[in-house]
Structure formats: C-alpha cells, structure tokens
Assembly symmetry: C2
Homo-oligomer: 374 residues x 2
C-alpha cells in the first residue's frame, strides 16, 4: 500500500539533499539528543512534566522540546522528541525510566510462553501521542506563506536494539540474557526480531504518514554482536524494514530518506550500506575519509551518504578546540557531496550549550570555505 505524501516545500532542504548525496553549498548539521538535558530550557520543562515519560507522551510538551534546539541554534533538521523503545511500550511491556539508569521494561520477555505471546501492536491505536506530536511539530514548523522551515526526522530503535531491552529488561554490561537466548534458542530470538521488524516498519510508516521527512534507525547495540551474529540477528532485520519501507514508498525522489546507524559498526560498513539505506551513521572510531572511500559509488555501485562522527567529549573542551576538530572532520570527509555532520553518539548532558553553538557555526562556515577553495 502506497501512502500519499503531502509535504510543503522546505525553506532549508540541505539535510535532505545531503542524505540523497546531492551537492549542497555547505554541510548540514544536526546533533543526536539535540533536544535534551544539556539545555536549561529542556530541564525546566522536564521538571514541570515530572518525568521523561510524561514529557514524551504529552504532545504539547514533546513539540516544545523538539523545537527548543532549533530555536537556539541554526541546525539543519529537527528530530522528534521521543524514545527508541516506544514500540516495546506499545507491545504492553511497560516502559519506564529510572533516574540515571536509562529505560527499563517492567515485564521482560524471556521464556517461550512470553515470546510466543508477543504480537505486532496496532501502532495508531497504541502510540497516538507520537503521531499527534509529529503533526503538531509540522504545524509549528510551517510558515504563514506555506513553507516548512526545516525537515523533521522520525526514528526508532532497530529490531535487535529493541530486543536487547525487551529481553534484558534494561541496560546490560554484557548482554548475557539475550546472548544466552541467541546461542541456546536462536528460534525464540528470531521470532522476537521478526515481530519487532514488522512493528517497527509500521511505526516508521506511521511517522512518515504523520509527516516526518526522513527516518533514522538506531542500532545502538549492534556493535556488541559477533561478526556473524550481527549479520543474522541485527542487520537482516534492519534490511527488512528498509526494503518494506521502499516497497510502501517506491518513488526514490519523494520518499523520505532512511539513515541506519550501528554504534561500533565501523567494521561492517559495506554490509550495512547494502541494506539500501540512503545514509549510514558512523561513530568517531571510524575514519570518515576511509568510510567514504569504502562506500563510494566506485566500490559499491550506489551512492550512500555518511552521517557523523565527532566524539561527543570534544564538546566538553573549549571553542577553539571544538572549531579545530570540526574543521578536521570536515576536511577528512572532503568536498564530496553526501556528508551530514553529527556527533558519533548523543550529546553529553554536561555539555555547555554555547559549545554546541560554536560547533554549528564552525560546520556551516568552514564547510562553505572548503567547497569554495576546491
């Protein structure tokens, strides 16, 4: 089933053009967790809402939080304020956030009966607040003369990453519970991943229908797998989502670009890019110039943009260092089209906001200069 997209023309579309590996006058930038704890205006809203979950499930509040960073900095995209695990909540697993401990599911999925009881949830019925928030953000981004100021990014966790929290119940140092399942009962894990892939596909589709202009799949924990297990328990299912979204939105010109990011997945770039995503996220352990070469048209027969990859701890230093490191990153990638500047992981809560401002400014200024000097 193909859905009708009804986008407004964008005032700033360089993020989308870079995702499609088209030339841009400068390098677009957005920042993972750009709406979050490092911003005092976020902390104020968070305190009023009482909890992260309360903030996320309230469309007015979630809209405000989404817009906060783009009001402060000239970022090239907004990203929906939400969580990578909402689909597990829609499955009835009871998502909660313990202070300083990250997300938890109240009822982890561990034995055969629990696994077999899982079903693909009715996304529109279970996660209405997400779609309401997206529509509200789109309205807020709309100008009086019928333009959209910036693109809006939707997102979800990858099937494997969602499964990690579903099986472990929360964060894990060694993923012993889900890996025990992987090695002892791979059939059960494949069952979970199949359901996750279908649910996440419906979820991203619903986000697109509600109005996001690009989607990102966060495979936060793919990098803890062995080379072989990554292919069969993570990438295989991410690939299915990309293929199904392409089937639902077959026009390559109008469909929202897809970004896939596996933290710690630098060794698997070629294989990951073969999932046909428009862009691959890379963290700071991977050289951008080498990644660009490895995923070049010459080597892969297709264009893949790259998103990344500054170490977030660099934003703890000072303006001078931040600007120098930003230039190094831009120069490492070079003037070739297809780079979206970002950190290699979420911005740290202790980051001074003005350091983010310096980064955004330097990326815009220096990337223009690099293109003109060419």
């Amino acid at each position: 089933m193909t859905r009708l997209l009804n986008p407004l023309p964008l005032l700033n579309d360089i993020f989308l053009r870079a995702l499609r590996s088209q030339p841009t006058a400068y390098t677009p930038i957005w920042i993972m967790r750009q709406a979050g704890r490092y911003l005092p205006e976020y902390r104020a809203l968070r305190a009023k809402a009482g909890s992260f979950l309360g903030l996320m499930k309230n469309p007015d509040a979630a809209t405000q939080v989404t817009l906060q960073p783009i009001e402060r900095f000239p970022l090239d995209a907004a990203i929906l304020f939400s969580d990578i695990l909402t689909v597990g909540d829609a499955m009835g697993l009871g998502l909660s956030f313990a202070e300083g401990e990250g997300p938890r599911f109240e009822t982890p999925v561990r034995d055969e009966a629990q696994v077999k009881a899982l079903a693909v949830p009715d996304i529109e019925a279970k996660l209405p607040y997400v779609m309401t928030t997206i529509k509200q953000i789109r309205r807020e981004l709309t100008t009086a003369d019928g333009h959209q100021k910036l693109p809006l990014i939707g997102f979800a966790g990858s099937p494997w990453t969602l499964a990690c929290y579903m099986v472990e119940g929360g964060k894990s140092a060694d993923f012993r519970t889900i890996k025990s399942m992987l090695y002892k009962r791979p059939d059960l894990l494949h069952h979970i991943l199949d359901i996750n892939a279908r649910a996440l596909c419906d979820y991203l589709d619903a986000q697109i229908a509600a109005g996001v202009n690009a989607v990102m799949i966060f495979d936060t924990w793919g990098g803890v797998l062995s080379d072989e297990a990554f292919a069969s328990f993570s990438l295989q299912y991410t690939t299915r989502i990309v293929a199904e979204l392409h089937a639902r939105y077959p026009d390559p010109v109008t469909r929202p670009p897809i970004i896939v990011f596996t933290k710690g997945g630098g060794q698997w770039l070629e294989r990951t890019a073969a999932c046909q995503a428009d862009a691959i996220g890379v963290d700071w352990t991977t050289s951008l110039s080498q990644a660009r070469e490895r995923l070049s048209y010459k080597n892969t027969g297709r264009y893949t943009a790259l998103q990344g990859n500054l170490d977030p701890t660099i934003l703890l230093s000072n303006e001078q260092v931040i600007r120098a490191e930003a230039r190094k990153t831009l120069e490492d990638y070079g003037p070739t089209p297809g780079h979206i500047f970002n950190l290699g992981h979420g911005v740290l809560p202790i980051t001074p906001p003005e350091h983010v401002g310096a980064l955004v400014d330097e990326v815009h200024t220096a990337s223009r200069a690099i293109r003109l000097a060419k």
Copy 2:
C-alpha cells in the same frame, strides 16, 4: 642492555610456536581471566586473603591462583595472576579494588602539577612481589627432570589504558576527564603516556628477566578513541614498548613473543600489527578469516599470529552450543599456522567451570581433526 635468558625446555611449547606463526599439531588455547572468580577454588582463596589486592600481592597465594586453572584444564599456557594497573600503584597512586566496581586510584592525576610530579618508578623496588611470584610459578612449573611444563605469560595494561585509570580515577562510561585532557591539554597527556611507556617497558622487561615466556599488552580502552587519537595516544606508545623490548632482546628466536590486544580495535588491525608484535588479539566483532587475510604475509610482508575470539557469553550456554561455536571459530581461521584460541574478552564470573573444560577439549580435538582433514 641485553639480559641473559635462561629458559628450561618446555614440555608443551605449542602456544609459543603458534605465536611465532609456526605449524602446530593442534590449536593452543588459554583464556583471559582463566584464574578468577568463575572457579570455586579461586573464590575460596580470595575469601581467605580478604581482598583482591591481598591475593595479588602475596606471592604464595598469587602462585596458587595462577596454577589453579592449569591444574583443572589442559590449557596451553599459564598467565601470571596480577592486574593491568600495578605500575600505577608503583607510581604511588594508591591502587584499590572496590567490590563490584573494579580498580580505582586514590589520587588521580589531573592537573599540571600532578602530571609533572609523575616519574618512572624503580620497578624492582616497588613491585618485588610480582617478580617473586613469577619466579615461584616458574619453580612450580618445573619438572624433576628439568623441564618447564607450560609457558608462563606476563602482562601489563597499555600506556593509554593505564592513563585512563590514572586520570579518571576508575572506570568511566565516557572517559570525559581523560578525553578533556586529550583535547584541551594534549601536551599533559603525552607527558603521562611517555612516562607510562617507559615504566611499562621496564616492568615487562623485569617480568621477562624473572622468567615469563611471553608478554601481552592489554589496550582495554584503546577502542574508545577516535581513529586519529588511537594512533597518536595509544598505538604510538604501545609501539614504543615493542620496539624497546626488541632492542633489549634482539634475538628473534629466543626473545619472548609479544601479544598486543586492543578491545574494539578491529578497524585498526593493519596499523596495530605494524607495531611489530608477534600476535594481535581480536575480539568477537572481528571475523577471524578476514583478520587473517588482512594481516597475511602477502598483505603486510610479515607474519602476525592472531589470538581470539569467542564471545565470552557463549560459555553461558551449554556444551553442545559451546562445541559447535568453537568449531565455527576454528574453521573460520582455518588450518593456517598462527592461531591461538582465546575468548574475545575475560571469562565471565558466572561461567560454569565445566563449560570451560568443554571448550578446551573441543579446541584441542577439533583443531587436530581440521589439520588432518586438510
């Protein structure tokens, strides 16, 4: 200065032969943290000693702990029971181990005065218990007719990994303190790393003089660095240690082989191997067959053995799975000389000891069969 080595002939030298990329009738195996909490006999001794530090600093106890796993399993090497951070203790930083929290230094090194006060310690004077333990283990490994049963491995943390604990004071989720120093005051960090490299070189040299047959450098936290920072803040200093040890022990036939292991360093194998170590450790995120090809004589002009790389969580499954995964790992590497079987990280404390027994048995049996079938 070249020291005289006075080794006894080894009853089982296949570990050393594999490290030198020579043919062996089967694949040798030892296991990171093979002497440790998963063994009930270790937990008994640990309880008697009162603390990890007490155990490590008592040569009788440390000798017993070193020998425990080789008495239980037909492993191909013993590894000194000690810690990767002893040299920091020798520098007077006050090493301690809080239960369940890992190592800590009481007085972290953070400001310029603290950095400039650091000095290369007199290893023999400050760490006599390590050398006494090594000599005692060697005596215990000696047979009545003048052979040594198995090779003994000595080790230390890499200059960067030691610096992580020196600057952070303990474990860190994001290494924000040392990375802030790296980006704001690289001169201070280089000063620390220079002292660490010289101290660690003296330390490994002292271990060799006391009788270890091979040394391993654990770069446990190299993988948290950016591609560029890894080269200048970690690998550069590890390379210096290897070069200096080669200068002190110039005979390639008799000098103890050196193993370098960067956890999460799969993207940097070629560069790491260029440090001239005899063997490179790899974790489970790296394909052994690809690593073997990347570091082959054809591609690098030298022989480099590989050590690894089973995911430690596989040992939580069951005998059948463990044996199947061990065979897959062996087949992935193939019958080419130069593989030392190991896990990709330390054995988990909740591992049933009989699972380790099954792994050792399967590696020995299956690797022989693979060679004979060729």
